[in-house]
Symmetry: C2
Subunit: 340 residues, 2 copies
């Protein structure tokens, strides 16, 4: 069986599908344009937990539990959880998942994590290694700011090109396609990204750092699948934000790809400019909750039939920034298709 296509891509000929998706977010996300679409919106950033890290774990734990419930499954039926987050040693995931009795594959792709876990879950289910896998990612504004930037208490000013880390977690249950007749969203292919580092060193300017990785993966994807933007109803990055998206489109246009209105970004959709989030949303949770609450439901309703979901990740650490290193970045692309 050969499932390779092109230089960096693979095809999922059995069309593993998304049996259910769930999203849990903080209050700011609940007040944004997608607010009414999320499954659960917390009233505050901690929801009764003693720390921001514990709050992030609870976000993910709730998203996974809710996705399993919405799929009509029990914990025992899930063959794997594939998950990751931004905290050191993906701590949010470990403390979220230790209460489940489900085999765990830990992944790290920074803000590209949702496509990383979704792509790998599709690989496993498509190949018959299991019937159900949960793919999840989370981020939390407070735990991220504390770890990567400034103590929140300083009240530091943020540049206008900075993005706002989403407080939220999304989870998709990837299932073996049993060929039932109802409309479903399936994962039909993916392109794994390479690490791209163009020398950007400003940890506030993630959009600019990640744009080349997004452009590289999207160009490779079109090449590998012999497709153009016209083959997709929507091509959506994870958290490039306003300026990063613009930069990525310029890069694609330099390569002869007309990057029109069908290109957008989860970070642009999730907040309203009036929410003072500057360039948009970011973090693993940004693409995870937008996928679960907005993209998949709209596909099921027939608004879009084929989407390219391309979250990007900035693979920096607090230490690499302190040591003056530039920001290595990556993007993974997952093809979602509606079948009915």
């Amino acid at each position: 069986m050969n499932r390779m296509i092109g230089t960096q891509s693979c095809i999922f000929e059995n069309h593993p599908c998304i049996a259910a998706a769930a999203s849990v977010v903080g209050p700011k996300e609940g007040q944004g344009p997608l607010g009414s679409s999320f499954d659960i919106v917390w009233a505050d950033e901690k929801n009764g937990t003693p720390s921001w890290e514990k709050a992030e774990s609870l976000l993910m734990q709730t998203a996974i539990t809710e996705a399993i419930r919405k799929a009509g499954l029990t914990e025992k039926q899930i063959r794997w959880i594939l998950a990751g987050d931004l905290l050191n040693q993906i701590g949010a995931s470990h403390f979220a998942i230790r209460d489940f009795q489900i085999p765990f594959l830990g992944m790290f792709g920074a803000c590209s994590t949702m496509s990383l876990t979704l792509m790998n879950a599709a690989m496993l289910i498509n190949a018959g290694y299991g019937n159900y896998a949960a793919a999840a990612a989370s981020s939390h504004f407070c735990s991220s700011e504390k770890q990567f930037r400034m103590p929140l208490n300083y009240g530091s000013q943020r540049p206008l090109y900075a993005t706002w880390t989403v407080t939220g977690s999304g989870c998709c249950i990837v299932a073996r396609n049993t060929g039932t007749a109802e409309p479903k969203v399936c994962i039909t292919g993916a392109t794994t990204g390479r690490i791209i580092d163009m020398g950007i060193k400003d940890a506030f300017n993630m959009g600019a750092a990640m744009a080349p990785a997004a452009a590289d993966t999207i160009l490779t994807h079109f090449h590998d699948f012999h497709r153009t933007p016209d083959d997709y109803d929507l091509i959506i990055t994870g958290d490039l934000g306003i300026y990063g998206s613009r930069l990525m489109k310029e890069m694609l246009e330099e390569q002869g790809i007309a990057a029109g209105d069908r290109f957008t970004d989860c970070g642009i959709l999730i907040y309203d400019p009036s929410q003072d989030t500057h360039a948009g949303g970011s973090g693993c949770g940004c693409s995870a909750v937008t996928l679960a609450a907005h993209l998949i439901p709209n596909m099921l309703q027939g608004i879009w039939n084929r989407i390219l979901f391309v979250p990007t990740g900035a693979l920096l650490s607090q230490l690499s920034t302190q040591q003056g290193e530039s920001i290595p970045c990556i993007a993974h692309a997952v093809v979602l298709e509606r079948f009915s």
Copy 2:
């Protein structure tokens, strides 16, 4: 195609094989019992790099380059690198891999990382998603001590049950089995672990924290494959050390499994007690370099025909320790078999 077996395991019926394996270590590992088996031994801990973190990245970069070279391949033939390490945001891996033009899957399993990346590489190659994948892991004594425990300059005393983080990186090239006649080491199955947390909070006492996860995965593996220890020539954990190994054997014996001399641990093999490493070696690099330099070469020579490779990971972070949390742990088991 159904590749599931039991509750947590899968089989690789196409027998993906290890085309080559390479190891790069620091001076202390070079002076240990396996010293003459490593491909490259550094004369000092930094090898000309400006920081311990950069040194760790160079270890991994060298191990990957060397493994590709030993397999007689070029970079372009490698479909994926799957890698991880202990640093925050798996920083050693990202800065090691950004110079390769190879798609990257970032993984985090703490000291279980080598079985995590090897298992996932086998899943991908067995299913025909690619012909070659590189699976790697690294650790560095100095970058780990700095991050997880005490500044080295303090010269803190370490308890006798503490282990010594291995400075080293190992990489295996997992290849599609083309059925050639020469002896080869193949990956025929794997058991993915669950997160187990028995409440241990002492970050020096990793062996005790991880032993229950190792026992859980090994018991599940025997159950899923209908096997006993007698079906293996060697059952080898990653870095439980002297005390953790003893504890794991007691746990297995309580469950009716006679854990005899065929059970051992990479952390016990890699140092001599005279090296003042207390309970043994640890870190992602410990099992990675022991696999590459000792286990695979001895299998190729026919000393062992079937091995169960079960590295364990302690999924703590500096922050989770500071916040008084216990240590969640995990172990993944990979079946290695010699065919000729």
